[in-house]
């Protein structure tokens, strides 16, 4: 709990290549995707449910439902690389990558963030026109069985479609393309 309190105080801070603004973005209740590679270089794609930035540890913590994620978690356990992608309703998107990750049980802060972010994500999906049952179900993850994939984001990239997609974030003064999107 002590660590959770400290982490909570740092919620507004960035970590690694992610600025405070980007840290807030990835925790804002948007679509979280996760991918992993096994030691043979085989990719595995999956869905995440929320993200918590642990600025003190310099890590991202992506909540995952282990049901249906066995290959992804096996790849993480085997020491493969991990990436997480974060996309909002306006297609603004970034990706963070780590060379390796570990799997942990969720902390109370992870679960609190999940509760808050899933509500936001649900509302976001409803705004996009999805049926209520889909919105509620899509963001549902059982806190009793959820796990967290934890990794230090060594690289981050802009993924918003258009010019600059794929560029490393440190090379971009406007990584989310806010200025372009509002232009």
């Amino acid at each position: 709990m002590k660590r959770d309190a400290a982490a909570s105080a740092q919620a507004g801070q960035g970590t690694g290549p992610l600025s405070a603004e980007l840290a807030a973005f990835v925790q804002s209740g948007i679509t979280v995707l996760i991918g992993a590679s096994d030691l043979h270089g085989t990719p595995v794609a999956g869905f995440g449910f929320s993200c918590t930035v642990d600025a003190a540890a310099g890590e991202l913590r992506v909540l995952v439902d282990p049901a249906g994620s066995a290959p992804l978690l096996a790849a993480v356990r085997a020491g493969g690389s991990v990436a997480a992608s974060f996309t909002d309703l306006e297609h603004r998107s970034i990706q963070a990558k780590g060379a390796r990750a570990r799997i942990e049980a969720p902390t109370p802060r992870d679960l609190a963030d999940y509760a808050r972010q899933s509500r936001g994500h649900r509302d976001w999906l409803a705004l996009a026109g999805f049926a209520p049952a889909f919105c509620t179900g899509f963001v549902r993850c059982d806190p009793q069985t959820a796990v967290v994939v934890v990794f230090a984001p060594e690289q981050a990239f802009r993924q918003t479609p258009g010019p600059g997609a794929g560029e490393a974030i440190h090379a971009f003064p406007d990584p989310l393309g806010r200025a372009e999107r509002s232009a």
Partner: protein, 502 residues
């Protein structure tokens, strides 16, 4: 539900997954070793031989491939660093293949060219069922039916999501599916279907069999689509092989019939479906597949009045949210296109496309057979009007350069149908003849008719409908098998004319 219960996997068969990929090899891609797929069998160590087990057909998962719910795509570079991104399009190709859109030369693209492997996670928006597909790259198609189908869908998605001008399809990357896992079983009961599409197709086929001539077949088909399939807006266009255009012969559910309106090959969903001989389906409103209405407006503004004067407005919905254009084929030959439209987004799903493709195919088969079918009942000869009853004369003007025909100053028809009418009227003026047969028209070299029987029949349908719609004093009636009658209610003056100068 425990994780092992929910993570049902399907491993690729050894024979299937070991097959070399010529396309991949051609692009310098290493042939992947399918035994390395992680988690193909829960608990199996990487590299362990996979058991022989059939993969589920992609037919069963294609509701998750409508571009409704976003999908996750993961690839790896040669060093094993994974890349994950959100994608809007996982396209059903066939029971064993899917395609992804290649829009940008980005990290995903570089990884695919380097390793040839991908993993996608898809969601069925109706049931919430999620599946992970393990993919091996086969080839990239930059033209042809698949490319155009994906391009149409992508343009609709781009327009719907405010990304017009950002999404641009460079290629359709085709992948063989070598592994399928259930990430999440269905959690929502799918909506009860409104109808059994197989039973509907059977009923529509039975109704179509009752048509005695081509015009009746067209009208009956559209009527059954509305009654049995709930397709309220639809039209049939036939292909003019000479001009490479399609002309509307029947429509239903529009404010104007638009019979006689034309679409060029490659123009709009109709023209693309015709050119590619493939179904083109769009689930969202997009301006990328508009028709020539705007072009005609521009022509009119520029003073090019001839095109504007002889153009019949295309009858389609002004802002359709869903469109499905299906080629009407006989073998490899294009007869025409069936276009279905709706104001509702995502009105036509894969299953609708299948049912309507069956109906379009049957329409093509019957259209070819009908000229030899039983004759329609003979219409009695019309009663002749006495001189005192006759209304004023009508002047029929013919412009030879495009065979356009005007009744007084009003445009009626052009092309082959115009040439047919002009020939009939001239012969009537010279000899007083009223009864004609399709055989003599077919053999008349001046009409430049293509070889196939339904071309003439379709044009007679078009001509008859245009005359009826205009309530013209000239009509064409079927008078027996392969015969028809020219009915003229007023004195007719014929005038060969030169086109006005632009």
């Amino acid at each position: 539900m425990s994780p092992p219960d929910r993570a049902r996997s399907h491993a690729p068969s050894r024979a299937e997954s070991r097959a070399p990929s010529p396309a991949a090899e051609a692009e310098g891609m290493p042939a992947p070793d399918p035994s390395l797929w992680p988690g193909a069998v829960p608990g199996a160590p990487a590299g362990a031989p996979a058991p022989e087990r059939a993969l589920p057909s992609m037919d069963l998962l294609r509701n998750a491939m409508e571009g409704v719910a976003a999908s996750a795509l993961a690839t790896c570079d040669a060093q094993g660093m994974v890349n994950v991104s959100i994608i809007s399009q996982v396209h059903y190709v066939d029971p064993e293949r899917v395609a992804l859109s290649y829009q940008f030369f980005n990290k995903t693209r570089r990884n695919l060219l380097s390793t040839g492997r991908a993993s996608v996670a898809i969601t069925d928006p109706a049931t919430l069922a999620q599946h992970r597909l393990q993919l091996v790259y086969e080839e990239t198609r930059t033209e042809g039916p698949l490319f155009e189908q994906m391009r149409a869908q992508l343009m609709g998605l781009a327009s719907h999501s405010g990304m017009d001008g950002v999404f641009r399809l460079r290629g359709a990357d085709v992948f063989r599916v070598v592994g399928v896992e259930t990430v999440r079983p269905p959690e929502i009961a799918p909506p009860a279907p409104h109808r059994n599409l197989m039973a509907v197709a059977r009923r529509v086929f039975a109704a179509m069999a009752g048509a005695r001539e081509l015009g009746e077949l067209f009208d009956l088909t559209l009527e059954r689509l509305a009654e049995d399939l709930g397709v309220e807006h639809a039209m049939i266009l036939m292909h003019d092989e000479g001009s490479e255009r399609l002309y509307t012969v029947a429509s239903r559910g529009y404010s104007a019939s638009g019979v006689g309106s034309e679409v060029a090959l490659g123009e709009g969903v109709v023209g693309v479906a015709a050119r590619e001989r493939a179904a083109i389906r769009i689930g969202h409103l997009t301006s990328a597949y508009g028709y020539a209405r705007a072009i005609r407006d521009q022509a009119r503004e520029a003073g090019l009045d001839w095109d504007a004067a002889t153009a019949i407005p295309f009858p389609g919905l002004g802002a359709p949210s869903s469109q499905l254009a299906l080629p009407i084929l006989r073998g490899e030959r294009l007869l025409g296109v069936l276009l279905c439209e709706s104001r509702r987004m995502l009105r036509f799903c894969h299953d609708d496309e299948d049912a309507l493709a069956l109906i379009a195919g049957h329409l093509g088969a019957l259209a070819a057979l009908l000229p030899q079918a039983a004759a329609a009942p003979e219409a009695p000869a019309p009663a002749r009007l006495g001189p005192a009853e006759r209304p004023p004369a009508v002047t029929v003007r013919h412009f030879a350069f495009d065979d356009s025909v005007f009744l007084d100053n009003d445009y009626l028809i052009k092309g082959v149908a115009g040439a047919i009418l002009w020939r009939l009227l001239r012969e009537h003026a010279a000899t007083g003849r009223e009864e004609f047969n399709t055989r003599e028209l077919r053999l008349d070299p001046s009409l430049r008719l293509p070889d196939h029987a339904e071309n003439l029949d379709a044009r007679l349908v078009l001509l008859r409908k245009r005359l009826d719609e205009r309530e013209a004093p000239i009509r064409i009636e079927k008078s027996g098998r392969g015969r028809f009658r020219l009915c003229i209610a007023v004195p007719v003056e014929l005038e060969s004319a030169a086109p006005p100068q632009a």
